[in-house]
């Protein structure tokens, strides 16, 4: 029962933390509930499909289907997170100036809610498919321990959801003015961690063969498999022994997002229309 609780808990917080950040980033946006719950529902459905067709998926692309699929959906999420941040940088400021907070939130909601819904969907799909496979395995085995294991799974779900809620409400204690700065920082690190994870899948599929040597190892300080290690892995992409390609992807993503945000955040060039501030 404990093992079921732990595995479900782990997967649920990994997806839940991402949902928590997305919820905080869309604080006050009307109809965000629909995008987020739509993302969760699509993710759960996708997770069941991926679990049901795990064998077929793996067999694609000379046996690399699983790796390519994981890398693709991670990179999709990275793109969506980047787009959200860049859009916020380009419009957040002028909206805040011109329309005040309410207007800003309405417009933001329209534009990037769908993107964040996709991110939620990807997170739930990735972690959810593992939960589905695990629980299906239990159910298929039968036996008397079945009920206990499923109860453990349910407890894990509740505990994982509670931690995620804690994350969300914790973020909400940040004053509204700073909240979006904090969430955009979190989203940047989230995207960087996902990009590094995508690189790992591409390496395991044999598509990236350069820079696979471990650069440093901090497992003595924090084990990636521990619960704090897992949380940091999900939140900021903590890896105990990263290789060169992973580090490059991580830093490159942060750099690219910051650069795009800076470019997008600049007011549109209107020659001679405005004196320099």
């Amino acid at each position: 029962m404990l093992s079921a609780l732990l595995i479900v808990f782990r997967e649920v917080i990994e997806a839940g933390l991402i949902v928590g950040i997305v919820l905080a980033a869309t604080q006050g946006v009307p109809r965000r509930g629909r995008a987020v719950s739509g993302g969760v529902a699509a993710g759960v459905l996708g997770a069941c499909l991926v679990a049901a067709f795990a064998g077929e998926l793996a067999a694609l692309f000379q046996g690399n289907g699983q790796e390519l699929f994981n890398a693709s959906i991670l990179l999709l999420a990275v793109t969506m997170l980047t787009w959200h941040n860049v859009w916020m940088a380009s419009h957040g400021r002028e909206m805040a100036l011109e329309l005040k907070a309410a207007g800003h939130e309405v417009v933001t909601g329209k534009r990037t809610l769908a993107a964040l819904g996709v991110v939620v969907g990807v997170a739930v799909l990735r972690e959810g498919s593992e939960v589905v496979l695990f629980l299906y395995g239990i159910a298929a085995q039968g036996g008397t321990s079945n009920a206990a294991l499923l109860a453990g799974g349910a407890l894990g779900l509740v505990a994982g959801a509670a931690v995620s809620a804690l994350m969300y409400f914790g973020l909400l204690t940040i004053p509204a003015g700073r909240l979006f700065q904090v969430t955009s920082g979190l989203i940047t690190l989230l995207a960087a961690g996902m990009a590094a994870q995508a690189v790992l899948f591409l390496q395991n599929g044999g598509y990236i063969n350069a820079m696979t040597g471990t650069v440093w190892n901090t497992s003595w300080l924090l084990k990636e498999d521990s619960i704090p290690g897992r949380l940091l892995h999900t939140l900021v992409g903590y890896v105990e022994a990263p290789d060169g390609a992973q580090i490059l992807a991580y830093l490159g993503t942060i750099l690219a997002i910051l650069l795009l945000m800076r470019v997008a955040g600049k007011p549109a060039p209107r020659p001679r229309a405005q004196p320099a501030e």
Binding site: S3, I7, A51, A54, G55, A58, A59, G63, Q66, E67, S129, E130, L133, F134, Y136, G137, A140, Q141, L200, Q203, N204, G205, G206, N209, T212, G213, T214, K223, E224, D225, E240, A241, D243
Partner: protein, 106 residues
Amino acid sequence: MKRILLLSGFMLAAVPAAADGPIAVTLQNHKFAPAEIHVKANAPSIIALTNKDATAEEFDSTALKVEKVVAGNSTGNVRIRALAPGRYPFMGEYHPGTAQGVVVAE
């Protein structure tokens, strides 16, 4: 001396080294066989994991940087990167109580 080296070279050639082809590993009753897999250090290798159980298992190892689901009654290739000499534990994530193993790079 030279002859011995040559001879050992031939012997190495006769026994397929890890990098030459996939290493067959079987999972049955949620146990890996062999549970200790020897590979050549500093060279990539492939584990062909055949899951003889009815349900899926995830080959999971933080040390090896691998997570790969192998469906029930099927085979999946797990790519092992070039490793520094050492022991790298792995497990079946869905049955960590029994499905434990280690890759030894030497």
